[in-house]
C-alpha cells in the first residue's frame, strides 16, 4: 500500500501551486470585489492544459487520471474558490458527458476545443423547480421532422448554471416524452452558445464565489440539429447520474482546497497574534481548533483521493464519491468557520481572506447534490432500502 502521491502527481501539484501563488493570487481580490469572471486567467490555464486534465489526449485533454484532477482542483481552490469551481464545472460537467457518451463527430466538434482549453463548457440540469429532484425537469425538447434527422426544438429554462454567459458549449437536459410507466423521458443535448432561440438570462448575486458566473439559461424555441442529441434518446437521466458521481469528487477536492486555505491562514496567525502576553496558539481554546481543522482536512483529502483512485481503477466509486463529497464539504464549512473564530474580529472583515473562504465553502454543501442528497445516496447503498 503506497499512500504517497506518484511522482508526476507531485510535479503537477507543485506546478499548479507555483502558478496559482505567483500568477493568480495577486489578482484574486480585485476579481472577487468586482465580481469579474477571470477570462484572462482561464485562457492561460487552458494553454497549460488545466481545462481537460482527466480527458484523454486524443479527445483534446491532458490524459491524466482522476487523482491528478482532484489534486489540481484542490490546489486551485486553495488559492481561489471561484476558479476551482469554473474548472470543475467545465471539466466534470461540461467535458464529462461528451467524453462519456459523445459520438466521434461530437467529440471532434465540441469536446476537443473544450478539453484543449479553447472553449468553456457548462452543464444545464437544474431548473427553478427541479433541484435535488432532477427528474422534475420541465424543459421540453420536441423533434421536428426534416432533413438530416430533423431538428430538436427546446423550450424552458435552467437556473443556477455555473459558467453561464462564458461557456461556448452547454450540455442541457430536457424532457423528450413520457415512458410507458408515465415517468418522464429525459434526454441530453449539446447547445452551442450561438444557437437561435437560446440565451443566457439573469446572472445571480451570490453569497460567495463572486468571480464565477452562475446564471439562467433561457430556451424559447431554441433549434438544434438532431445530431446534437447527446447519447441515446431517454438516456439523459442515467448519464447525468454518472456525471454527478464524478463531479462530486471534484467538488470534494474544491472543499478540501478551501479548508486547507483556511488552515494555511490560521496557523501563522495563531503563532504570531498575541493576547495576554503570549501567542493565541498557546491557548488550548485556539490550539485545539487548529488541531481539529488539520485532522479533519487530512481525513477529507484521503476520502477524496480514495474515490478518485477507485474511479481510476475502473471500480465502483459512487458510494465513495458521495461520502467524500459529503464529508469534505462539511469539513470545509467547519474549518473555514473555525478560521474566522481563530482570527476573531480580523476574521470577520474583508482585510483578511478567511471570510471569503467561509462564504465560498458553503457552496460545496449545496452544489452537485446537497449534503442531504449525499446522505440519501449513502444510506440507500448501506441499507439497501428505498430511503426517501
Amino acid at each position: 500500500m503506497d499512500l504517497d502521491l506518484p511522482t508526476e502527481h507531485q510535479l503537477l501539484r507543485d506546478t499548479i501551486r507555483d502558478f496559482m501563488t505567483s500568477e493568480v493570487a495577486p489578482v484574486v481580490d480585485q476579481h472577487e470585489r468586482e465580481r469579474r469572471f477571470p477570462i484572462e486567467i482561464v485562457r492561460r490555464i487552458g494553454e497549460l492544459g488545466w481545462l481537460g486534465i482527466p480527458i484523454p489526449e486524443d479527445e483534446g485533454g491532458a490524459g491524466l487520471d482522476t487523482l491528478a484532477y482532484a489534486v489540481a482542483i484542490e490546489e486551485i481552490g486553495r488559492v481561489w474558490g471561484s476558479l476551482g469551481l469554473i474548472v470543475a464545472a467545465h471539466t466534470s460537467l461540461g467535458c464529462g458527458p461528451l467524453h462519456l457518451v459523445g459520438s466521434a463527430e461530437q467529440k471532434q466538434r465540441y469536446l476537443i476545443p473544450m478539453a484543449s482549453g479553447e472553449v468553456i463548457g457548462a452543464y444545464g440540469l437544474t431548473e427553478p423547480g427541479a433541484g435535488s429532484d432532477s427528474g422534475g425537469t420541465r424543459t421540453i425538447a420536441r423533434l421536428e421532422e426534416g432533413p438530416n434527422g430533423g431538428t430538436w426544438v427546446i423550450d424552458g429554462g435552467k437556473r443556477f448554471i455555473t459558467n453561464a454567459g462564458h461557456a461556448g458549449t452547454y450540455i442541457v437536459t430536457a424532457k423528450t416524452g413520457l415512458r410507458d410507466d408515465g415517468s418522464p423521458e429525459i434526454s441530453a443535448f449539446i447547445v452551442p452558445a450561438d444557437t437561435p432561440g437560446f440565451s443566457v438570462g439573469r446572472l445571480e448575486e451570490k453569497l460567495g464565489l463572486h468571480a464565477s458566473a452562475t446564471g439562467e439559461l433561457v430556451f424559447s424555441g431554441a433549434r438544434i440539429p438532431a445530431a446534437n442529441l447527446l447519447g441515446e434518446r431517454g438516456d439523459g437521466f442515467r448519464t447525468f447520474l454518472r456525471i454527478l458521481d464524478g463531479g462530486r469528487i471534484s467538488i470534494g477536492a474544491l472543499a478540501v482546497g478551501l479548508a486547507q486555505a483556511a488552515l494555511d491562514a490560521s496557523i501563522p496567525y495563531a503563532r504570531t497574534r498575541e493576547q495576554f502576553g503570549r501567542p493565541i496558539g498557546t491557548f488550548q481554546g485556539v490550539a485545539f481548533m487548529i488541531a481539529d481543522m488539520a485532522t479533519e482536512i487530512e481525513a477529507a483529502r484521503q476520502l477524496v483521493w480514495r474515490a478518485a483512485w477507485l474511479k481510476d481503477q475502473g471500480r465502483d466509486y459512487g458510494l465513495a464519491a458521495a461520502q467524500a463529497k459529503l464529508f469534505a464539504s462539511e469539513v470545509s464549512s467547519r474549518a473555514t468557520n473555525a478560521a474566522i473564530q481563530v482570527h476573531g474580529g480580523y476574521g470577520y472583515v474583508t482585510e483578511y481572506p478567511v471570510e471569503r473562504f467561509f462564504r465560498d465553502a458553503k457552496l460545496t454543501e449545496i452544489g452537485e447534490g446537497t449534503s442531504q442528497i449525499q446522505r440519501l445516496v449513502i444510506a440507500r447503498r448501506i441499507l439497501g432500502l428505498r430511503v426517501v
Partner: protein, 264 residues
C-alpha cells in the same frame, strides 16, 4: 541546434529551511530540492532557441548531483528538455567548484553540442565559477552574463549581449561555446500538463565516474580545494516602513529616511 543545459538541484530557497550539516556541507535532506532558479532561465533560453530552429534540435540536461536528482530533473524535462544525463557517484560528495567543473567537462566530452548554457550561479553555493571553469577545461569560448543569445548556425557563430557595469558588451564567438545565463533572458515557462505527462517517459541516463573515465581520487570531497570553516546566519531584517501619500510626500519621506541614515 543541440544545446546542453547545466542544471543543479538545490534546496528550495522558498522553503526558508536551508541549512548546513555537521560536516559543513549542505544538508540536502532538510528541505525539498528544486531546479536552481538561474538554471531555469538558461533552460528557457535553450527551449526558445531550439523552438526557433526545431530541425534536429535537442536540449540535454546535464547534472552532477546525488542519487535523488532525477525527481528534480523531471520538472526541467516537463518544461520541454529532450533528455537528461545525471552524473552521480558516492565519491563526488563534498565536491568543490573545481571538482564539479572537472566532472561536468568530462561528461560534456561524451556529448555532442553547439552550445552549453548554464545559470550564472546557484542559489545554494553562489560561487558562480563553475561555468567558466568548465569552459576552461574544455577550451571552449566562454561568454558570460548573457542577456540575449543569437546563434548564426550557417556561420557557426553565436552573438551574446553581455551585461556589463556600464551597459552591454556585444560578444561573438565560434560555436561550440559555453554561455552563462542571466534572468534578463526571460521568465521560465510553467510546464504544461502534457509536458508533465511526456516527462514520464523521457530518458535520464546515469553516469558514474568510471563511465566518465575519471579517477575517483582526483575529484570529490577528499581533494576539495575549498572548505567551509564556519557559517553565520545573517540578522533578521528590521521592521519595514511603508510610505504612503502623494508622490511629493513620498519622495520627501524617502529623502528624509535616507538622509537620517547618512546614505545621501
Amino acid at each position: 541546434m543541440r544545446i546542453v543545459v547545466l542544471v543543479k538541484p538545490v534546496p528550495d530557497p522558498a522553503s526558508g529551511g536551508e541549512r548546513l550539516g555537521a560536516n559543513g556541507r549542505l544538508d540536502r535532506a532538510a528541505v525539498p530540492a528544486v531546479v536552481n532558479g538561474n538554471d531555469e532561465y538558461a533552460l528557457e533560453a535553450a527551449l526558445k532557441l531550439t523552438a526557433a530552429a526545431p530541425e534536429g534540435s535537442e536540449v540535454t540536461l546535464l547534472s552532477m548531483a546525488p542519487a535523488s536528482a532525477p525527481e528534480t530533473l523531471r520538472k526541467a524535462l516537463a518544461m520541454g528538455a529532450t533528455r537528461g544525463v545525471h552524473v552521480t557517484d558516492p565519491a563526488l560528495a563534498g565536491s568543490c567548484a573545481v571538482s564539479t567543473a572537472k566532472v561536468l567537462a568530462a561528461a560534456l566530452k561524451q556529448l555532442e553540442f553547439d552550445l552549453v548554457l548554464a545559470g550564472v550561479d546557484t542559489s545554494d553555493g553562489l560561487g558562480g565559477t563553475v561555468p567558466a571553469a568548465v569552459a576552461a577545461y574544455l577550451g571552449l569560448p566562454f561568454l558570460s552574463y548573457a542577456a540575449r543569445i543569437e546563434p548564426d548556425e550557417p556561420a557557426g557563430t553565436v552573438r551574446v549581449r553581455r551585461i556589463s557595469p556600464t551597459g552591454y558588451d556585444l560578444l561573438e564567438a565560434p560555436m561550440p561555446a559555453l554561455i552563462s545565463c542571466t534572468q534578463a533572458l526571460g521568465e521560465p515557462r510553467y510546464p504544461t500538463l502534457k509536458g508533465i505527462m511526456a516527462a514520464r517517459s523521457k530518458e535520464i541516463a546515469t553516469r558514474s565516474l568510471a563511465d566518465l573515465e575519471l579517477d575517483p581520487s582526483t575529484v570529490g570531497g577528499a581533494v576539495a580545494t575549498t572548505q567551509v570553516l564556519a557559517t553565520k546566519v545573517p540578522p533578521a531584517r528590521g521592521a519595514t516602513e511603508v510610505v504612503r501619500g502623494t508622490p511629493d510626500e513620498g519622495a520627501t519621506r524617502i529623502v528624509e529616511f535616507l538622509a537620517q541614515r547618512r546614505i545621501i
